[in-house]
Amino acid sequence: MESVIKTYDISREYIEYPSFFKRIRGEGSRIIVAVDNLNISVHRGELFGFLGPNGAGKTTTIKMLSTLLLPTKGTATILGNDILKAPNEVRKRISVVFGGERGLYWRLSGRDNMRIFAELYGLDSSERMDRIDMLLELVGIADRADSKVETYSKGMKQRLHLARGLVHDPDILFLDEPTLGLDPTIAHELRKTIRNLCTREKKTVFLTTHYMFEADELCDRVAIIHRGTLIANDTPENLKRQFGTVTPVTILLRGVVPQVEHVLTSRKGVHYVESGIQDNTTKLKVGLDQDKVCVEDIVSLLEKTHEIISVEQGSPTLEDVFLELTRS
């Protein structure tokens, strides 16, 4: 399969100084390794999920791949063009969409925002109008296209971001947390739109998100990065099969039982215990490694002191895998 994104030991360090004057004197610097010898490849038409805890280096990687930031070591190729040697070629074929509310002209209308970028990307005026209309329609904000962006809701801003990113018909889209802060319905719609970009229009999408079920549902393949280092890279199914050694078990106890987790956390094979109280019951979520301890052991342990209402055994989710792999 053709790799449209390929990185070669790409790395990025930041140097931080405690103050302006120390910077001038070059004193007290601290090196932050944001991305450390990353090697990944993404195929054409693939929806690639790039996951990792806060500060793992996801945004830094996207910035390097999109030529906004120079790597301190290594390089990458985008559609065969080296990001260091041919950044202009790379820029023409990609688009970067950052999540959140930055990156838009708030005082202008959605349509004017689109028009600015359509012009700067050199679309001629006849083609421009149609394309802008089509994209606003695609993301579903055509009816508010002429209102100022400052009157948009988060979801509308996010959809405008995506439409803006598509204006020059790029081959590769980098989406940095595109569903950040959206309600479930809108997030769902947006995911569908993103999915269609891959399947119908054969675009390659490189996406970061903190929502594991989203990555699971959406992505063909995911990579997990932790403190700048790649720790997993496979399809969500394979990852769950390979690393999903921890089974989530939900146990409901009658009554409010504080601090019950202490009984369990010290047990061998128990990876995590979370407890919550609702309507005079206590809900325990326990992560068990079934090679070491079975559900029955835990149940009989709890039964001695508490009344159990129900026990429910789930199958490992991508979130479980993520928590497992990124535990320090």
């Binding site: 930031l69 120079l70 202009n88 990156g103 202008l108 100022k148």
Partner: protein, 264 residues
């Protein structure tokens, strides 16, 4: 279409759209210059100077206060704002030149500032009944255009300095008022202390304003002073332009090296 032309035009239009959405420019372009003109004229009257002596000086000087304020507060800062609001890095990814885009923005701010020149002229002539008559209208227009262009190029230097460090903001606010003095906006620079004058002479605004005044007060076609002014403006503008180009290249370089395109 040529990408330089596209970005220049787009910068110009975007800035106009932003100004339309932000009424603050009315204060810079209208209220402030008219107010300053009024105060200064009252001062001249108080000390008993003949209006023949100060009319053109004050009217055009304070008119250009508006142009200058627009260049500084709208043009110069707008590039910095692009960085704050996260549009600068998106701009950076487009195939056009950030330099011409910025230039378009500042040029458009400066051009909007011409409102102040018209406003002060109207107030001076019709409200305060000052004796103002434009002797060489053709060259007056030429010198207006010259002033707009040279201030914009100067603004571009400031805009790039602004992108290098936020600390320039403090300096910029100070700068707004310093130019009133250094550029001879409200009184001739010949009254300034000797050591300050080199600074005045290195500002193209000083020469451009002189050209404006010469074209108002005499037949400028035959005035060697006018052509001298024009030559100095051209020369200094070229120098600023080169400085701006070098600074923009440098910024582009360090921005991707240090990851400063979106940090604020």
């Amino acid at each position: 279409m040529n990408p330089y032309w596209i970005s220049l035009r787009r910068g110009f239009i975007s800035q106009l759209q932003h100004e339309r959405a932000d009424i603050l420019w009315g204060i810079h372009a209208f209220v402030e210059p008219v107010f300053v003109a009024f105060v200064v004229i009252m001062l001249y009257r108080f000390v008993g100077t003949s209006s023949q002596d100060y009319a053109t000086y004050v009217v055009f000087g304070s008119g250009f206060i508006g142009v200058w304020a627009m260049v500084l507060s709208f043009g110069g800062k707008s590039i910095f704002q692009e960085r704050m609001q996260g549009t600068l890095e998106l701009m950076f990814l487009t195939p056009v030149s950030l330099f011409t885009f910025s230039f378009g923005k500042i040029l458009s701010s400066a051009a909007t500032g011409l409102v102040s020149v018209a406003a002060v002229l109207a107030v001076g002539k019709f409200v305060l009944r000052l004796p103002i008559h434009i002797e060489s209208p053709g060259l007056f227009l030429v010198s207006l255009v010259m002033t707009i262009v040279t201030l914009s190029v100067f603004g571009l230097v400031l805009a790039s300095a602004y992108m290098l460090t936020r600390r320039v903001a403090y300096f910029m606010n100070l700068m707004q008022y310093m130019i009133y003095v250094l550029g001879g906006l409200l009184f001739p620079i010949s009254v300034l202390p000797f050591w300050v004058r080199p600074i005045s002479y290195s500002l193209s605004l000083t020469w451009a304003l002189d050209a404006v005044r010469v074209s108002v007060s005499q037949n400028a076609w035959e005035s060697s002073v006018f052509w001298m002014d024009a030559a100095m403006v051209t020369f200094l503008t070229a120098v600023y332009f080169v400085v701006a180009v070098v600074l923009y290249r440098y910024i582009r370089k360090i921005a991707v090296r240090d990851g400063k395109l979106s940090v604020y």
